[in-house]
């Protein structure tokens, strides 16, 4: 695929913009850290269009860039933990083939939250953070579902786009 670098650039730019847009939406759920995970949309699409390797690269590039642009080092560490765990689980579920985009996306959303929670536990050195687990589980399911619906629609429409070598 000749234009792969160009497509990768577009995907990275979109993921970055989604990170920014998400930051602009001021929603408070009473629990820190709950957000839609719009950038995950690009990761899911990349995972299905290309493969886990490219999705991992996109995820890491997106997190590091958005971390330096809009956040701080802590934000990068949290996001990396969540992003990598989430991607690993999504790649596994996708490989098994018994889940649709929806299931893969939900698992990704939930695991993203779990990864961040684990880092939060290590940082504040208390298991008490686990109190947020149920809220984060439900939030991850809901956001994962929304992202799954959108991913499914986008994937249907860009079926002709081929990013595999």
């Amino acid at each position: 695929m000749k234009n792969k670098a160009a497509y990768f650039g577009v995907f990275t730019a979109l993921a970055l913009i989604f990170s920014y847009v998400e930051m602009l939406i001021p929603i408070q759920f009473g629990v820190p850290g709950i957000k839609l995970g719009l950038a995950n949309l690009m990761i899911v699409i990349m995972l299905y269009k290309s493969g886990p390797k490219d999705a991992l690269l996109l995820s890491v590039v997106r997190i590091v860039l958005s971390g330096f642009l809009f956040g701080n080092l802590f934000a990068i560490i949290y996001s990396l933990a969540g992003g990598i765990l989430s991607l690993a689980v999504m790649a596994l579920l996708k490989k098994r083939g018994t889940f649709s985009v929806m299931g893969v996306s939900i698992a990704g959303g939930v695991c993203h939250n779990i990864g961040q929670l684990v880092v939060a536990m290590a940082v504040v050195e208390t298991y008490r953070v686990g109190y947020y687990l149920p809220v984060l589980l439900i939030a991850g399911t809901v956001t994962g579902m929304l992202i799954g619906i959108v991913s499914n629609e986008v994937l249907k429409r860009i079926r002709r786009l081929n990013l595999q070598n």
Partner: protein
């Protein structure tokens, strides 16, 4: 959506609900204590029943009132801990990540029996 997707959602929801149920069943304890730790080290223990205002390291202000602990002010830019709800049940916590402050309710130490024996 495949069948497995629904099974996945079901498992996650059951997990979440059972966690919530566990926390609610533990219930409210009148003789609970507010334990504050900064950077993993103990900072202080306060009585949840007594109304008071605690200044934590000059960065955060915790107010205990009507059996509830609430973070009223913080010097961090995101103010996530200030936006969190007041806590009162055993195991609940308010966490301020920028200042590494954890405020937790602990109700297990003082049981009602001890209070009667006194």
């Amino acid at each position: 959506m495949k069948k497995n997707d629904f099974i996945l959602i079901g498992i996650i929801l059951v997990l979440a609900v059972s966690f919530i149920g566990y926390h609610f069943l533990k219930g409210k304890d009148e003789s609970a204590e507010v334990v504050i730790t900064v950077d993993g080290k103990a900072y202080g223990t306060y009585d949840l029943a007594a109304d008071q205002t605690i200044n934590i390291n000059g960065t955060n202000t915790l107010v205990i009132q009507d059996g509830q602990a609430d973070m009223k002010d913080a010097d961090c830019p995101d103010k996530l801990c200030v936006h969190q709800k007041a806590i009162s049940r055993d195991g609940e916590s308010i966490i301020c990540l920028p200042n590494k402050i954890v405020v937790t309710i602990e109700g297990g130490k003082k049981s009602e029996l001890d209070a009667v024996a006194k």
